[in-house]
């Protein structure tokens, strides 16, 4: 049963990802990205990470994808519909990526993963919160700073200079 769900979700995710990287219309790509992210959230649920699924939807879909769509709309050009969306190094990239994929699968299959028989803690959220505040408190703080810096950075970068306003 789970396997079936998995295959469904994985299929949707893969196909959507493929759409994301190949569609000519960037807007459609963005929409397919949304779909991919949703599928990934579903995968998380399957993996027993409910909180993470929720966070994924909230942050990724809710914020990041919206941001991207905003960016798309703000940088949209009229003629971009006729413009080629993939550059000239498609073939070597495709080849390499395929090679990479084959190698990865090969590695993954060959590796003897040390599977553990333990179970995950039942209360996911609780456990995550506890960990964040105790074991991973430093990374937690650092990430906060990263967010702060990113915030400042984004503002600074996209600020209009005084000379530009005078044009």
């Amino acid at each position: 049963m789970n396997l079936l769900i998995f295959y469904t979700l994985a299929g949707i995710a893969s196909i959507s990802a493929l759409m994301v990287v190949t569609l000519k219309n960037i807007f459609h790509s963005a929409l397919f990205l949304v779909l991919t992210l949703f599928s990934v959230a579903g995968i998380y649920v399957l993996l027993g990470a409910e909180f993470l699924a929720a966070v994924q939807v909230l942050i990724y879909v809710g914020a990041i994808t919206i941001l991207m769509i905003f960016a798309i709309m703000l940088t949209h050009q009229l003629y971009s519909r006729n413009l080629r969306q993939v550059n000239e190094q498609v073939l070597p990239a495709a080849f390499i990526v395929l090679l990479f994929f084959v190698l990865s699968v090969f590695t993954l299959v060959k590796t003897a993963w040390p599977l553990s028989q333990n179970q995950m803690p039942a209360n996911n959220i609780f456990e995550l919160g506890r960990l964040l505040m105790s074991e991973y408190v430093i990374p937690f703080e650092v990430v906060s700073i990263v967010l702060l810096v990113a915030l400042i950075g984004a503002i600074v970068i996209s600020r209009r200079d005084k000379e530009e306003t005078s044009k």
Partner: protein, 104 residues
């Protein structure tokens, strides 16, 4: 067998990663590149969570890491998109292969 095994999830991760790389290398639109990067992030996160469930379920370290990934992805998306805005403002177009001022 009706349960997906670790391998399934890992392969899914690999697929997403490969596609993400492909998109990174081939997309002309800068935002497209950023979207491909999101794919990469997600693939990595799937891997982490899968490992958290099947290999080290006690510490939930994988999930914690996945949270961090999402956070950093957000930050990166913010900064990246502001750069894209700046590019658009200065060059009136965001085709990545046109941004080659560092060439010889």
């Amino acid at each position: 067998m009706s349960e997906p095994t670790l391998l399934h999830f890992l392969i899914l991760g690999a697929i997403l990663f490969a596609l993400g790389i492909f998109g990174l290398l081939t997309r002309r639109n800068a935002v497209g590149v950023l979207m491909s990067i999101e794919l990469l992030f997600n693939a990595a996160a799937i891997n982490f969570v899968a490992f958290a469930k099947y290999v080290a379920p006690d510490g939930l370290a994988g999930q914690v890491f996945a949270i961090f990934i999402i956070t950093v992805a957000a930050a990166e998306a913010a900064v990246g998109l502001s750069i894209v805005m700046l590019l658009y403002r200065n060059f009136k177009g965001i085709e990545v292969d046109k941004i080659n001022f560092m060439k010889w």
